[in-house]
Symmetry: C2
Subunit: 225 residues, 2 copies
């Protein structure tokens, strides 16, 4: 197979390490940090799906708003009293994430191989721009693609189609990298050549259609070349 002309990355949990969110949660709610961070993340993803599916997307809201709603729900669910300052502190974490240690080196190696690079994320443009700058990845990304313009979240095919439109390449010339199994599955179904970076030794989804590659670090994307 030809090598990909472009490599698109998921953002949260893939290029950007969201571990610090859990640390802040633990500092604010001792003994509940892990449950809060995990429940918050699950609810955030659930909300992206509910607004995408229901009434043909009429209830779309940007990722930042859904993230805040998910935080509020999860605190209520866990019986945690979320003061305004704590809410803002947790939300601000999403704007100042660090990149995974290998993110920078992998993007540089891809540029050296002549690949177009980009992010294709559920995040809204403001959140993504802040995270890219905070993680020091500006200058290494040709595209920062947000679903916000089309008001549908991954795994809707219109979301993955953004990568086709931005690069001018057919899906089978685009490599897609995600640490989220569901995202790797959706991208594979869409037609991208997909690497699932399985950082946490999880089973893959049981819906058939494995991704082309499964790895343990972003470095494994170089095997496409």
């Amino acid at each position: 197979m030809d090598q990909p002309g472009a490599v698109l990355f998921d953002a949260y949990g893939t290029l950007f390490d969201v571990y610090s969110v859990g640390q802040t949660a633990e500092r604010l709610f001792a003994g509940h940090g892990q449950a809060l961070a995990a429940g918050w993340r699950d609810k955030q993803i659930e909300y992206t799906r509910l607004v995408t599916t229901s009434n043909h997307g009429a209830h779309y809201r940007p990722f930042g708003e859904l993230t805040r709603a998910a935080l509020r729900y999860t605190c209520k669910r866990l019986g945690l009293d979320l003061a305004e300052a704590a809410e803002q502190q947790l939300m601000d974490q999403y704007r100042t994430l660090t990149a995974f240690p290998e993110s920078r080196e992998v993007l540089q190696a891809l540029k050296a191989r002549g690949a177009v690079t980009g992010i294709l994320s559920n995040g809204d443009p403001g959140m993504l721009d802040a995270a890219v700058r905070s993680a020091g990845l500006d200058g290494l990304l040709d595209h920062v693609l947000s679903v916000d313009g089309i008001r549908k979240y991954k795994t809707h095919p219109d979301a993955y189609q953004l990568g086709v439109a931005a690069t001018g390449l057919q899906p089978d010339r685009i490599a897609f990298v995600s640490c989220n199994g569901w995202d790797a599955l959706g991208a594979t179904w869409f037609g991208f050549r997909t690497l699932w970076v399985n950082r946490y030794q999880l089973p893959f989804e049981e819906l058939g259609t494995p991704p082309e590659r499964i790895g343990s670090s972003l470095r494994d994307v170089l095997a496409f070349f």
Copy 2:
């Protein structure tokens, strides 16, 4: 407002008590029954959303198959070795559920008031028919509507539209009852008059649009009349 001409119920967790699934899980995997039952349910719902959203539903599979896939995933995730006999035992539970104690009496009361009654469920027809018979609710339901014919799961509007098509009533003449917050939200967004039966004292979803009624038992549906 006019009283509803029809009342449609969600099935699993609403009319049918899925508690026995957790009991069987605990008997098979002592100490892990609760985690297995909860994880299984979450994954089952997640899979309905993934196949509905991705590639415009091209990856649809009936609820029974998704339920089995979700069970396999969750056991792998929890490091539980799922033998074939145990898998079948857990799957069979879904066919032999009991109804919640008030289900029968509420359906009878609705019939006495002249209301059309029905189920509108993600379950496939085989699963639903078995559960209706097992719970002794046959004869009290005018409609047993499965999304299987349209190959899209709730909260897709086409799923709720099945209720409109079957009853010939506009959405605002149909009361919809669910114990699942996300389902009550989707039904409200669709335009049904909705009762969320909050059996487990959970917070409602933080996406606005509260249901018309929130109750603690199916009996609360009688307040529509």
